[in-house]
């Protein structure tokens, strides 16, 4: 990443709220981050942390009069928040493409695979003929590793396996050479062996096209596999962000410790129960005052009723930011649980 070039995507203080029957849900609460060309940024968090809403907002996908947006999201010189429908339409699928979680339901069941890819190409390149578009579809499908692509062009989605469908989705996302690819839990619905193949495709693609990738996931294994930088979200806020290795080996926020502590490790003692973070994520209708993680945090103290800023606390690591009032030394001491990074449980964890 060169310092002079502006980032591909720059999100600043993004807020998304949904008005519901019972009150306002602040789904995204002041999120800021950047994505550069050729960079894989992973957004990690539990369901309900706002990571999917953030991703969808970039595509202008949350619809309905009950949603309100604030902040800015600048993509390649274009402001996405508050952009007109037509502006967003031009960017969707061309500048920014998206791969969704469930490949089984993300393709329209009544159209042939080839036609669905062609539809996207022709939505952005009006002059291209159908035959040309089909040719490109074959190339794309071969590129993402679909065998006998020319033949399978005429197949319907239900004739494909889940992994193959996700490859189709990726081929489709690539069809207009996007500069940014958003992958929302792209491997969650797939078998472990297929997961690795799909991740390999994503990596190859990043290397070949120099596109930026936002990977939304709750799976830290996937993150470790592919991400350059990691953004940890909790209850609508970014609680920590940094370079992959820093997040994994020197995590700053107690929530991140909890996440890391709950991964099964081959080298860990099998006799121990897998620790989980105690409690439940807060309701976003009435989030806790101050730090959102406070009610679940065993290390919370008086100061935590004030909202901690997202700041750098580690010397010589300006890219590492976190939202926690604990001092660095305290963090280092507290995150050691049974010789590993983890969140100490204050109460017995129900297995």
């Amino acid at each position: 990443m060169s310092a002079t070039e502006p980032p591909l995507l720059e999100i600043s203080d993004l807020r998304v709220a949904f008005a519901t029957e019972d009150g306002t849900v602040q789904a995204v609460d002041g999120v800021s981050f950047t994505v550069s060309r050729g960079e894989v940024v992973a957004i990690v968090g539990e369901s309900g942390s706002g990571k999917s809403v953030t991703a969808m907002t970039l595509m202008g996908l949350p619809r309905g009069s009950n949603a309100t947006f604030q902040g800015t999201a600048t993509f390649d010189g274009t402001e996405l928040v508050g952009a007109s429908d037509e502006q967003l339409r031009r960017i969707r699928g061309a500048g920014i493409a998206m791969v969704f979680q469930d490949p089984m339901s993300s393709l329209d069941p009544v159209y042939r695979i080839g036609d669905q890819i062609v539809e996207q190409i022709r939505a952005h390149e009006r002059k291209i003929s159908k035959a040309q578009a089909l040719d490109r579809a074959v190339t794309l499908m071969e590129r993402v590793g679909i065998p006998r692509a020319a033949e399978r062009l005429r197949s319907y989605p239900h004739e494909f396996s889940g992994g193959m469908r996700q490859r189709v989705m990726i081929a489709m996302a690539l069809s207009c050479s996007p500069k940014l690819l958003i992958a929302d839990e792209p491997t969650t619905a797939l078998d472990v062996t297929i997961q690795a193949q799909i991740l390999e495709e994503l990596r190859k693609l990043r290397d070949e096209t120099d596109a930026g990738v936002i990977l939304v996931t709750h799976d830290l294994g996937v993150v470790a596999d592919i991400a350059d930088r990691v953004i940890v979200m909790y209850a609508g806020r970014v609680v920590e962000q940094g370079v992959l290795d820093d997040i994994f080996y020197d995590p700053q926020h107690p929530y991140t410790w909890g996440l890391l502590g709950s991964i099964t490790r081959i080298d860990s003692d099998r006799s121990q129960r897998l620790p989980a973070i105690p409690g439940m994520p807060p309701s976003l209708l009435s989030p806790p005052k101050g730090c959102h993680f406070r009610p679940r945090c065993p290390h919370a103290f008086e100061k935590c009723v004030e909202v901690p800023p997202l700041e750098g606390h580690v010397a010589n690591r300006p890219e590492s930011l976190d939202r926690c009032w604990l001092t660095e030394d305290r963090k280092r001491a507290l995150r050691q649980v049974d010789g590993q990074v983890g969140l100490r449980s204050t109460e017995p964890v129900i297995s």
Partner: protein
Amino acid sequence: MLRFVVRRMLVMVALLIVISMFTFAMFVLLLPNGNPAALLAGRLATPAEIHLISVRYGFDKPIYIQYIDTMKNIFTGQAYSYQSSFNVLDEIRAGMPATLSLAIGAGLIWLLVSILFGTIAAVRAGKYADRVLTVLSMIGVSMPPFFFGAILIYYVAYKANIIPIGGYVPFSQSVGGWFGHLVAPWITLSILFIGFYSRVLRSSILDSINEDYVRTARAKGLSERQVLIRHSLRNSLIPIISLWGLDFAQVIGGGAILTETVYNLHGVGELARDSIGRLDTITLMEIVILTGIAVVVIGAIVDVLVAYLDPRIRLA
């Protein structure tokens, strides 16, 4: 696709046999002492006379022979009304043009108008247009066709003299007359279905908005109109077409009895009503069986059509 069609045809034949047996059983078993001869002979008939009639019509034979004979007569056009001695098939044939004209015209109207109304209501959901259409469709599904027909006959035919009072003019005789006599029946019959279908389509489209593939379509950069027509509507039409197949088939089989009667169209439906009036069981049975055939055959055709629209069904 071919395998699907063949399998669907086999199911169709099986269903036809079941339906004809059921209908036959209903007519024969529900008659007094299981013997239509007593009914035919009248109240004052002697047992000997009843016996004579039994033999003549074959009522003394075992029930399955009677069933086979009846079916043979129906399908070879040899069935005669016990009451009027008319050939039943000829009578039905005479009613077919009116019924077909009614069914095809109304079927097209109610399908197209429902798609239009349902789509508008879904796109404008919660807005003024949606509310108006909702009210209209609520009135539509609550309106008995003979009442609406009577209103049109009174206000538009008697008072305003715009349409004829009733009856049917064959297409071959006068195209204008044919059309003029059918406009009101078409509208009357359509209203009921439009009310129902447009509601179904509306909620189906609104449900599809939450489907993943519609989200994908939007993420591809299609315009709202393209997303709506190519994806939401295209998928939502599948259940509508299935529904339409059954209803259309029932109307062809004389199911629009109320509309046919209020407008005196002399179609198959009105024939069914008349045969009930004179307790003409053989005519009624033949109409009921023909309706069954129409529903099953057209149902099979529509299923093939739906399989064409929805590739998942073909391989299911």
